[in-house]
Amino acid sequence: MTARRRATFAGATAVAGIGATEFSKDSGRSELRLACEAVMAALGDAGLAPADVDGIATFVMDNNPEIEVARAIGAGPLRFFSRVHYGGGAACGVVMQAALAVASGAAEVVVCYRAMNERSQQRFGIGTMPTARVATTETAHFGWYAPFGLLTPASWVAMQAQRYLHDYGATTEDFGRVSVACRTHAARNPRAWFHGQPITLAAHQASRWIVRPLRLLDCCQESDGAVAVVVTTLERARDLRQPPVVIRAAAQGASRDQHMMTSYYRDGIGDLPEMAEVARELYAQSGLGPADFQTAVIYDHFTPFVLAQLEAFGFCGRGEAKDFVRDGRIELGGALPINTHGGQLGEAYIHGMNGVAEGVRQVRGTAVNQVPGVEHVLVTAGTGVPTSAVILGSA
């Protein structure tokens, strides 16, 4: 464990409210409305009013500008608004932005949201290349991949997953155990899209190839929905409706020679050094280590990176996740149940924000698949991209 590092927001800020819409394949309403519904639910959960909101943090990829949400809900004048880039890697980064803002006094109540009709309107996996009338650094980046047919998130991740299998002697069944665990948890969660629909490892192995070595059941679902969380100071949160869920630590991470979904040029491309950076920072801020978590929400857009994340956070050694995930260790009743809401494989794909909400519920003791005696929960954000994570704990 690393020596504690001073981070003024860590331990001094809290999640005071969470809210969400239903999770579906066709919401039938605008993304902006989904954002507003989730934000209003989160404020109601916290016992706050829209007029109390003076800050907003969301994803660069979110289609709903901060001012449109603020206008629609009737928020007070905004003193702080911020966005975090890199897809789902922003999921915990927005919480960190909010915590930084309220700890510094730049704002007092910051709402974070992610709202998307990712299934019914703007699908991420259909294989298109971003274009611009004038070339940008980002279209230049995609130019190393798209002209050859490497067009989808699954294909970008599969390149690293193939090398992971080669380097560590893992098999696609090891990927499948992650999927089975998440679907087992989702099956018991009425809010999950795959409620009542657990899968077997055999079903995983029988599912069709998407991008070898990834099968259909290695890929998270596509969803419509929104999730919001309210962040304020721990001091203020103590006076609100819910018991505060303390932000013990929060960090973002990008590695040396980091690329957006295609970090293929560094040593050990099966690993996630950006998440290892995040882990070091979280442990330094909190003084906690891998043995201190009773449950974790490990970002699961694609199963292979769940294995690499377990290694990056030191739950097991590098290359050892294939053994760690056996024998139900990551399922309810195991040593480290992960993604108790069902994850993005089972509950919904809301770019990781539904995972933040599940972390809050586990600390509160109100999760549908509640783990007993939760003191600290690790929540991670999207991988393969510059990423982030938080440690949530009881007050």
């Binding site: 996996g125 259909i126 294989g127 298109t128 290349m129 274009t131 611009a132 070339a135 940008t136 650094t137 980002e138 279209t139 230049a140 980046h141 995609f142 130019g143 190393w144 991949y145 798209a146 002209p147 050859f148 047919g149 490497l150 067009l151 989808t152 294909s155 599969a158 390149m159 690293q160 193939q162 090398r163 080669h166 069709r208 190839w209 998407i210 991008v211 070898r212 070595p213 690329h259 295609t262 293929y264 040029y265 491309i269």
Partner: protein
Amino acid sequence: MTDSTARLPHPRPGLTHDNRFFWEGLAARQLLIQRCAGCGRLQHPPAPMCPACHGFTMDAVEASGRGVIHSFVVVHHPPVPPFAYPNVIVLVELAEGTRLVSRLVGVDPDDVRIGMSVAVDFETVDGDLALHFFRAAAGTR
């Protein structure tokens, strides 16, 4: 395997001051690797400067075109025109040490292995877009 017979537009790279040399090299059937004129460090993808010596003067060397498969994928879904499926895409580690993503042509998807030796070739799609692709190196298969 079929070659890509483009009816829909082929995805094109965004050309910038930093990467134009690479794509123009392909049109001349050259696979170029960016080199720092100051310290000689090779890098791919290109960048405007050298992260080692911090120089801004960059040139390029022509790669031998030989390398080994460092990783690969076989794309099945979704099928996106104009590509043919299954599409074998490889991450090649060139003999010079840099890596790049390309297509592998002429090898059954079930026979592709990490560590296989490959060699570069060139094609032109959509009339004027020059691309590289790789085949199994002569004598290895």
